[in-house]
Amino acid sequence: MTALVEWDDVTKVFGSGHVQVDALSHVSLQALRGELVAVMGPSGSGKSTMLSVAGGLDRPTSGRVVVDGEDLSTMGAAELALVRRRRVGYVFQQLNLIDGLTAEENISLPLELDGMSGRRARSAARTTLALVEMRDLAGRFPEELSGGEQQRVAIARAVVGDRALLLADEPTGALDSSTGEAVLRLLRAQCDRGACVILVTHDARLAGWADRVVFLRDGRIVDQTGPRSGPEVLLREPARR
């Protein structure tokens, strides 16, 4: 398995002098294709900064970020924008769907703006909506969809075009427990098709869906979960009635 994203000795400093904040301090981590890595930590521990440097939204003060074999730190603005549009998908708590566009258009419009023909973009949007079981609601506007359905559209928009890296920041937000679980199942399904998902959360129940959980404190990785091993009792096959 090869690393899809790598933080290589990444430091990110905001401000300077007395108001200097080290958001990330010498962070090194690799996440693989097909892997779901959760990053846990309290507010201000640097979780979201890890995502923004991986997505090319922010540049590290020092160190390198490599996505799908390409070093983001050596890229110019235009090149970086291309990586952001084509390789990286974002799922945030704020869904940022455009009210005046249907579910399908919310997904196809960015593809068209990126140069894809209208027909191909709409077809890609419909295929992706089917992945999140939203094909029948493709023509609805965001206000005609429930919170969970809107979140599905946001995920479809993040994964359309087989983006290799998905960055999710508290993606289940205010969703109820079962809808939140459905979102995690969708993210896992993206790992199964070879994408790498980085999930930032303070919610241990969400982190439980990850292959690996990394603990961040004051901008440093202080710990991570090891290979799967649970209490003896849990390793036994549950008896079925």
Binding site: P42, G208, Q224, T225, L234, P238
Partner: protein, 191 residues
């Protein structure tokens, strides 16, 4: 109490004997709380003494089967209708460990907390893996049990997070108190 009532619940579905009861209990709880046969028979004897079940004599060769009595059905109804008592709480090893670690030389409370948090998150990964295989979707009892374990483990992580924040406040309050206290040694020296 909970074993006796679970035994009554299984017997309400029809008379059966000890080994079958043990297997039925373990199947429904996904082997999470194994019982030994001796435990089941001593529970049945107690229930019989209290008139909640009675044994069916079915000849010398047959194993003794047990049947729930009307009083047993009443006791079972009352169990379902009465909220489960949470207090006094059962002893909890994790809580005891943290309490005992406070101010102990050679033990770093923050490290104990992080090790426990990692362990709890690993348990959540295990439990979620069971959920992901879909077997809980078709078995409501197993789904309830699994969710209960997931929520309890999540609660532990939240408590550990809170304990860590409390520890940090405690340490900074201690540092602040020391900073404001006059330093007696220095006074002594000046005199």
């Amino acid at each position: 109490m909970s074993i006796a009532m679970s035994v009554l619940a299984i017997l309400e579905e029809g008379p059966t004997y000890g080994l079958r009861l043990k297997n039925a209990f373990e199947d429904r709880t996904a082997q999470m709380w194994p019982l030994n046969v001796g435990q089941v028979y001593s529970t049945l004897r107690r229930l019989e003494r209290d008139g909640l079940v009675h044994g069916l004599e079915e000849g010398p060769e047959a194993r003794k089967r047990y049947e729930i009595t009307p009083a047993g059905r009443d006791a079972l109804r009352s169990w379902f209708d009465t909220p489960t008592r949470m207090l006094p709480p059962a002893r909890d090893e994790l809580v005891l460990k943290l309490v005992m670690a406070v101010d102990r030389d050679g033990v770093h409370l923050a490290e104990v907390i992080q090790a426990e948090r990692r362990g709890a998150v690993e348990t959540l990964q295990e439990l979620t893996l069971m959920k992901r295989d879909g077997s809980a979707d078709s078995d409501l009892g197993w789904a309830l049990l699994l969710d209960s374990l997931i929520f309890q483990t999540e609660a532990r992580v939240r408590w550990l997070d809170d304990s860590e924040a409390r520890l940090a406040r405690h340490l900074s309050a201690g540092t602040a108190a020391r900073a404001h206290r006059p330093v007696p040694e220095a006074e002594e020296v000046r005199r």
